[in-house]
């Protein structure tokens, strides 16, 4: 299980953005969603990217998650430049290096919990028995070892998000990317999921969490504030959230 705990070894940062910009063309109007973003995330860091809606944080998340490519600048993920990769190559990077956790959970309703968790492994060509074994381990890890055969509809919101976290963990990725993971949860379940992230962080996982909530960002080690497509603040957190960040909301 040590390999699960320390996913990536190397001296370079796991994530490096250099002067990344993203421009969308909606009809004849060009919208500049990101402008001159440069940042690094080291192995084992727990970073929250925070900003109000329209700040460009979703665009940044898509680029970080290799769901989209930047218009300008470069993006290195786990030592590979992914900013000019083909669609197929990006699919492989997403499969191997990134574990996604979405606001909507995005579990397939027809499949049981463990079948949902094994899904990324299907796309990386892992054999059937190994897939099941690893899915079971991941579910055990998020505390759902007794719910492996339940379908998403039979689980609470918090439990569904735990299944999604297990799915993100199962491929042993370099980066866990969580997009508003508590956005659809009540406060109790939110705290539950955030404490799970804290545990994963303690075990050496690299986590990037995107949120607009100050309380959620507060659970991270470092908070990057985004406003109008640019990095506004970048602070290491001690215990409390600096008051200057509160103004971003």
């Amino acid at each position: 299980m040590t390999a699960l705990l320390i996913p990536y070894e190397g001296s370079s940062p796991i994530l490096r953005l250099v002067d990344v910009g993203k421009t969308y063309a909606t009809g004849s109007v060009e919208v500049e969603a990101l402008h001159g973003i440069s940042m690094e995330v080291d192995r084992g860091e727990y970073v929250a990217i925070m900003g109000p809606s329209g700040s460009g944080k979703s665009t940044l998340m898509h680029i970080l998650g290799c769901l989209d490519v930047p218009s300008t600048g470069s993006y290195d993920l786990a030592g590979e430049d992914v900013s000019r990769m083909s669609e197929d190559a990006l699919a492989h990077v997403r499969n191997r290096q990134i574990g996604f956790v979405f606001q909507q959970f995005n579990l397939l309703p027809a499949l049981s919990a463990w079948r949902n968790v094994e899904l990324p492994l299907c796309y990386s060509g892992v054999g059937r028995s190994e897939r099941k074994e690893r899915a079971m381990q991941a579910l055990e890890r998020v505390g759902l070892g007794d719910r492996v055969d339940h379908r998403p509809g039979e689980l609470s919101g918090g439990q569904q998000q735990r299944v999604a976290v297990a799915r993100a963990l199962v491929t042993d990725p370099a980066l866990i990317l969580a997009d508003e993971p508590t956005g659809n949860l009540d406060s109790h379940s939110s705290a539950d999921v955030l404490s799970l992230f804290a545990e994963l962080h303690d075990q050496g996982r690299t986590i990037v969490l995107i949120t607009h909530e100050r309380e959620v960002a507060g659970s991270a080690q470092r908070v990057v504030g985004i406003l109008d497509g640019q990095i506004e603040t970048d602070r290491q957190l001690a215990l409390a959230i600096p008051s200057s960040l509160a103004s971003l909301r």
Partner: protein, 409 residues
């Protein structure tokens, strides 16, 4: 992702939308069943006609006296004074004159009264040679056919058709019994197998005697050498047209006439068959065309449902892509799903077609024959329809950008 997993995913997707999947399959199912039944009906009708004509014998040519011409009606003394004689039969049997004719069975017939004990039965008495049995493709249930020796000796022996035998002897064993024909006592040496259903004449009601015996004991004295019909068997199917030419030429020679003044007619089974099946074929093609259109509509149904499915499952596609599915894998998943729908519809359609082939003949007086190749072909067509219907929706799914797909609510 392996093919096995892709197939499993497709099955799960089909199962989770049971109602819609079954309705989609229904289109293909009805189309395939309709195609199979129309082809089966056409085949059945053709087989029926062919069987009836083949019942006469295989590779058969029939020489009848008289000639039908466009200008002067029937030439020659058909019926009353036959233009065919035993001399013609001998000539055609010669391997030098007609090398492609394997067997010749001259037939002379007349209606006679048969008496067995106190029972009377009037039927067709046929004078012929031992070759009659193979030429007419008949078999015996009991006893034997008369031999060449019996033919040469003009022996008083007879072979009875099944109807004749049962009319004369009832349930009793006819073999070895005596029958009186025209004052002569014949002993029954064999019984013919039934010829099956025939439309025009009753092939099961006749009494066969050696041709020599017929001319010496039964025929009226003035027409001892006369022959009603000559049945010729070509040595093979390929030799049929050569045999036809040889028979024509030889008979013109023995009769000493030119082709325009011919007093006989040679006809083949093929010419009978062609006329009989031509209309059936046209009808089959027409019906199969209509059935093919219904199959096409079924295929469009599959495409329609797959397109709806892609739109509906846009989030699922986005998620799969986010988790590492390449466009190729997504395309394959939807293609396999569409072709599975097509194939399943095809299998069920074939099952329905088979049931229809059993049930339909009970309501309409028409046999339905479905050759195995039609079943296999139908399965292939169903699969191809599924694939073709899946190509466009699958490529749309593959082209979806993962962010757009994930974003949609």
């Amino acid at each position: 992702m392996t093919w096995g997993e892709t197939f499993r995913t497709a099955l799960e997707a089909i199962r989770s939308r049971r109602m819609r999947s079954s309705l989609t399959m229904l289109g293909i199912l009805i189309g395939i069943a309709a195609v199979m039944l129309t082809v089966g009906l056409g085949q059945g009708a053709q087989t029926q006609v062919r069987d009836q004509i083949n019942q006469l014998g295989s590779n058969l040519l029939i020489v009848s006296p008289g000639s039908t011409t466009t200008t002067s009606g029937i030439r020659g003394g058909r019926g009353s004074a036959s233009t065919l004689t035993t001399r013609d039969a001998t000539a055609l049997a010669s391997p030098v004159v007609a090398p492609d004719i394997a067997r010749v069975a001259p037939v002379v017939t007349g209606s006679q009264s048969l008496t067995a004990g106190t029972t009377n039965w009037t039927t067709n008495v046929v004078g012929t040679t031992p070759d009659w049995l193979p030429v007419r493709a008949r078999t015996l249930t009991q006893g034997r056919f008369f031999s060449t020796a019996e033919l040469n000796d003009a022996a008083a022996v007879t072979v009875l058709g099944s109807t004749t035998a049962s009319e004369l002897f009832g349930g009793r064993d006819a073999l070895g019994q005596s029958v009186n024909i025209n004052g002569t006592t014949f002993s029954v040496i064999g019984l013919l197998n039934t010829a099956g259903s025939s439309t025009t004449t009753d092939d099961d009601d006749q009494a066969l005697v050696p041709q020599t015996t017929y001319s010496s004991r039964i025929a009226s004295s003035g027409n001892a050498a006369g022959i009603s019909t000559l049945y010729l068997q070509a040595s093979s199917t390929e030799a049929l047209s050569a045999a036809y030419q040889e028979a024509n030429k030889a008979l013109l020679g023995t009769h000493g006439v030119t082709a325009t003044a011919a007093d006989f007619t040679v006809s083949s089974q093929q010419s009978l068959l062609t006329t009989a099946t031509a209309t059936d074929k046209t009808l089959t093609v027409l019906l199969a065309g209509i059935a093919a259109i219904s199959l096409l509509v079924g295929g469009i149904g599959v495409m329609n449902i797959m397109l709806v499915s892609v739109t509906e499952r846009i989030r699922e596609i986005g998620l799969r892509k986010a988790l590492g599915a390449t466009p190729r894998v997504v395309r394959r998943q939807f293609l396999v799903e569409a072709s599975t729908l097509g194939l399943a519809g095809g299998v069920l359609g074939i099952a329905l077609g088979m049931i229809g082939a059993q049930v339909l003949p009970r309501f309409i007086d028409q046999p339905v024959t479905i050759p195995p190749v039609v079943g296999i072909g139908a399965l292939g067509i169903a699969l191809i329809i599924g694939i073709v219907a899946g190509v466009y929706p699958a490529s749309r799914a593959a082209r979806l950008a993962p962010i757009d797909a994930l974003r949609s609510e």
